[in-house]
C-alpha cells in the first residue's frame, strides 16, 4: 500500500492534503475536525494585527448547473485575538503531534515579524507560511499582495523571517503579477525553505443587475475580491510549473494551491512538481469530508501505477511541458467522428464553421452525422471538446511519427519562412469560404413569420 506521508521542507505530515490558510482554518475546532476527517495538515488562518471584517464577504461564479465554479472573497486575515489562536495551536499540536500545523502570518515591521514568529513557535506550530498574497483589504495597508507584487520588499521580509525563524518557512505567492518567477526567485534568494502558490486572483465575480453593485455587495458597494475555486486551477498549474522548471527555484519544495477539489487535481499538481497541496474552496463547498475522495483516488492512482510515495512521481510531467518553439510542426491529427456514437447535435459542425476552420460539413444523406472535411481540418480539437458524447470525436494521428521539425529547428537552420505557406492555412489545401458565402449557410427557420 502506498505511503502518503510527506516531509515538506522539514514539515512532516501523514499525507499531502493540507487545508489552505482560509476560513476553514479559522479555529482549533475546525482544524481538529479536519484532522479527524483525514487531512494531513492545516495552514492556520493568517494571524497578524487586529482587523475588522465586513458583513457580506463571498461571491461566486455559477456555471450551468454547477455552483461555485469560481469563488471570491473579501474577508481579511483572522479577526480572532492572537492569544486565542496561539492557545488553540498548542491544543491542536498536542492532540495531533504528527500533523502539519502551519502558522500563516502577515505583519508589517521587522519587529512585528520577529515577535509573532516567536509566539507561534512557542505555541508549537510546525511551520510558518508568509502571506504575501491576499489581493484585497490588507494590500491597501501595504501587506499581502502588496508585498507579493514587489520582489525587493518580499526578499527583504523573507530575510527578516529567516533570520528569526527556527521552524521551516513557506513563502506564499500572489498570482497577481506578470512573471511568477520574479517573486519566486526573490523568495529563494531570501532563503525561504519552501514556496506555496497560488493565492487568490484579483477579481470581480459579477454585478447585481438591479443595484449595479459588484458581488459581494456591502451596503450598495463592493470591492475587488480574491478569486479561487475550480476556475483558477489552470492558472495555478501554470504558475506552479513556472517555478518547478526554474533553475534557481526548482530545488525549493512547492506546495500547490488553486482550485484543487478531487484526486485528479491532486495528481496533476504533484505531476507538475508540488509535494503538498492546499485546499480551501472545496472544503468551503462540501466540508472536510471531501478529503475521503482525494485520498482514495490518490491511493488508487499510486497503486495502479506502482508508486510507493508521492516523490516517485512528483514533477513527472515537467519534462513534457515545454516552449511552443519545441513542438513538432510535423505532427498531424485530424478529427474523426464515430457515426455509431454520434447523437446528431451538430455542435461540432457549428463550432467548427463559426468558431474554427470550416472543416465540418452537414450531412446530406438524411442522417444527422456531420462529416469531417479532411483538407480543412487543422487538428485543433475544438469539435472533440464540444462533442457531448464520450469518445465520439477522436483526434487521429495522420503523420507516421518519423518526421520531426520545430520552429526552433527552423530558426537554427535559418529556414524561418518569409511567406505565408503553412500547409494548414489558407491557400494550401485549406480553403477559406468567400465572405459572401456566409449568407448561404443561414439555417432554415420554420418560425420566420
Amino acid at each position: 500500500m502506498a505511503d502518503l506521508s510527506v516531509d515538506f521542507a522539514g514539515i512532516k505530515a501523514p499525507n499531502p492534503f493540507w487545508l489552505a490558510s482560509a476560513p476553514p482554518t479559522n479555529s482549533g475546532y475546525q482544524i481538529m475536525k479536519a484532522f479527524d476527517a483525514g487531512w494531513g495538515g492545516a495552514v492556520w488562518k493568517t494571524m497578524g494585527m487586529p482587523t475588522i471584517n465586513v458583513s457580506s464577504r463571498y461571491g461566486s461564479t455559477n456555471y450551468g448547473d454547477t455552483r461555485m465554479a469560481g469563488f471570491s472573497n473579501i474577508e481579511l486575515i483572522t479577526d480572532r485575538p492572537l492569544e486565542d489562536n496561539l492557545r488553540e495551536i498548542r491544543e491542536v499540536t498536542e492532540r495531533f503531534p504528527d500533523h502539519a500545523v502551519i502558522a500563516s502570518l502577515m505583519v508589517d515591521t521587522r519587529e512585528e515579524w520577529i515577535d509573532i514568529i516567536k509566539q507561534v513557535e512557542d505555541a508549537g506550530a510546525t511551520g510558518i507560511e508568509l502571506n504575501f498574497g491576499c489581493p484585497h483589504g490588507m494590500c491597501e495597508r501595504g501587506m499581502g499582495s502588496a508585498v507579493g507584487q514587489d520582489p525587493v520588499v518580499l526578499k527583504t521580509i523573507v530575510e527578516w523571517v529567516m533570520d528569526a525563524a527556527k521552524i521551516p518557512v513557506i513563502t506564499k505567492l500572489s498570482p497577481n503579477i506578470s512573471h511568477i518567477t520574479d517573486p519566486g526567485l526573490a523568495a529563494v534568494e531570501g532563503k525561504t525553505d519552501a514556496i506555496s502558490l497560488i493565492n487568490t486572483i484579483k477579481s470581480i465575480v459579477g454585478i447585481d443587475l438591479d443595484t449595479y453593485a459588484p458581488y459581494p455587495v456591502v451596503d450598495g458597494k463592493g470591492t475587488n475580491g480574491g478569486y479561487c475555486g475550480p476556475a483558477v486551477k489552470p492558472i495555478a498549474l501554470h504558475m506552479l510549473k513556472e517555478l518547478a522548471q526554474h533553475q534557481q527555484i526548482k530545488r525549493t519544495p512547492l506546495s500547490g494551491i488553486g482550485g484543487i477539489e478531487n484526486w485528479r487535481d491532486v495528481v496533476e499538481f504533484i505531476l507538475l512538481g508540488a509535494t503538498s497541496v492546499q485546499v480551501c474552496t472545496a472544503v468551503m463547498h462540501y466540508g472536510f469530508g471531501i478529503v475521503r475522495e482525494m485520498e482514495a483516488g490518490l491511493r488508487q492512482f499510486m497503486d495502479d501505477k506502482g508508486y510507493q510515495t508521492i516523490y516517485d512521481f512528483a514533477g513527472k510531467a515537467l519534462p513534457n511541458v515545454t516552449e511552443w518553439k519545441h513542438l513538432n510542426l510535423k505532427h498531424d491529427v485530424k478529427a474523426k467522428i464515430n457515426a455509431d456514437k454520434c447523437i446528431g447535435c451538430n455542435l461540432c459542425y457549428i463550432s467548427c464553421d463559426d468558431g474554427a476552420h470550416q472543416a465540418i460539413g452537414l450531412p446530406t444523406d438524411g442522417s444527422r452525422v456531420p462529416n469531417i472535411i479532411e483538407e480543412n481540418c487543422v487538428g485543433c480539437n475544438l469539435c472533440s471538446l464540444v462533442c457531448p458524447v464520450e469518445d465520439c470525436i477522436t483526434m487521429v494521428q495522420k503523420d507516421d511519427g518519423t518526421q520531426q521539425e520545430t520552429w526552433d529547428d527552423l530558426t537554427k537552420a535559418n529556414k524561418i519562412p518569409d511567406t505565408f505557406n503553412d500547409v494548414r492555412a489558407g491557400g494550401k489545401g485549406h480553403y477559406v469560404p468567400e465572405p459572401s458565402d456566409a449568407f448561404k449557410t443561414k439555417r432554415k427557420d420554420k418560425s420566420g413569420w
Partner: protein
Amino acid sequence: MSEYKKPSSPAEFAKNFKQKKPLMNQTEAHFESARCLFCYDAPCMDACPTGIDIPLFIKQIHTENVDGAAKTIYDSNWMGNACGTVCPTGVLCEGACVYNHQDVLPVQIGRLQNYATDKVISAGKKLFSEGVDTGFKVAIIGAGPGGVSCAAELRTLGVAVEIFEAKDNQSGLLINGVAPYKITNEEVQAEMDYLQNQLNYRIHYNSPIETKAQIAELEANFDAVFIGVGLGATAFRNIPGEDLSGVIGAVEFIEKLRLNHEKTLLGNKVVVLGGGNTAMDAASESARMGASEVTLAYRGTKEKMGAYKFEYDLALSAGVKGVFGANPIEILGNGNVSGVKFASASGEEFVVDCDQVIKATGQAKSGGLFELIADLDLDENQRVKVNPDSNQSSNPKYFAGGDAINGGAEVVNAAYDGKLAANGILAYLTNKK
C-alpha cells in the same frame, strides 16, 4: 382491477386525475434547462409543428430571462402553455431530442415550456400589443385553439377580430376534450384570458353559425373569415342497441367529465369501443373515475391501433384491460345496457358484461357549415382544402385550420394553422387593396 376509488370530492378527483406533467419549480427548471445542449439546427425545433425556437427559450430560462422565454414560445405558438402539457411531446420535440440517441432521458421540453408560460400568465405580464390598425376586419368561426390563435395573431397584425363560438366557453377541446390529467380547466382558462386581455378580440358566445343568412351577414361585415370549427358529435355506427341508456359517445363523455368532474355519472363496468387516442383517454378516465372494470375493445390488432403507444400504456397503467380483434356486433340490454356482443376475427361471438358503453369510434364531420359557403372545395373526407402556405381555401375570402382541414389532430396543429392563416389573411387583404 381498477386501482382507483370512485372520487367523491374535488380533492379526490384531483388525486385520481393527477397531472401527468406537473408544473416545474424554479430549481427543477434550473437544472433541467442546464441539460439542453443548444443543438445546431435542433431536431426538437423541427419536430415542433409550430417551430418554436426551443434551444433559445431553454437557454433563456436558464439565464433567468423567463419573460423572454415565454415571448420566444408565444412568438411561434399562441397555445404555448397548453401545448407544454397537452402536446404528445414524447413523439414530437422530446421524441426528437438528441439525448434519446444516447439512451439518456430527453430534456423535458414540454414542462419547461409550461414553466415559462405559466410565469407570465400568473404575473399577467404583457408581452404583446395590438398592431397598428390596418382597417381590416376578420370573422372567426369557433373559439378553439385554431380560432383563438388566428385571432391573437391577427390582432398583433392590426386586424380587428370577432369570434363566433357555438358554446358558452372558449378554447374548444382544451376544456371540452382533453383528458383532465393533462391540463386543468383553470390552466386553460388562464391562458385564454391572458391572451384576450392583451389583444382584445371579441368573442360572441352561444353563437353558432348555422344558416346561409348568417354567412351572408359575415361576408357583408368582414373582409375575411377563418373557419376554426371542430368535429361533430360521436358518429353512429349502426350497431343494434346504440340507443340504449348507458351508451355514450367518448367526446360527449369527456366533455361532461371536464365540466362536472367527480359529479360525472359513470357505470361500474365500462366497455370502451375504439383504438384511437380518444378511446385511450376515455378508458383511462373511466378507470380514474373508479369504475371497477374497464375494457378497451378494438376490432383490429393492438399494432393497428391509431393511438400513441404511450397513451395505451397509460390506460393499461390505470387498470384498463385491452381486448383486440373484437368487432362489436350488438349492444345488449333492455332499456339499460347490460353488455356488448363481439365477433372475433374468426367469427366467434362473445359477450362482455357491462353497464356502460363509451363509443370512441370517430366523430361526425363538421360538414354542415361547409355546405353553407359558396365555392368551398372539400376533400373526400369532407375536410376543407387549403393552400398549405396560407391556409386559404378555394373561396378566397375563407381560410381554415385545425380539425376543419385535418379531420382531427393535435392542439399544436390547430395553433399553427391559426397563426399561418392569420398571416395568409393579412397578405391576401393587403394584396387585394
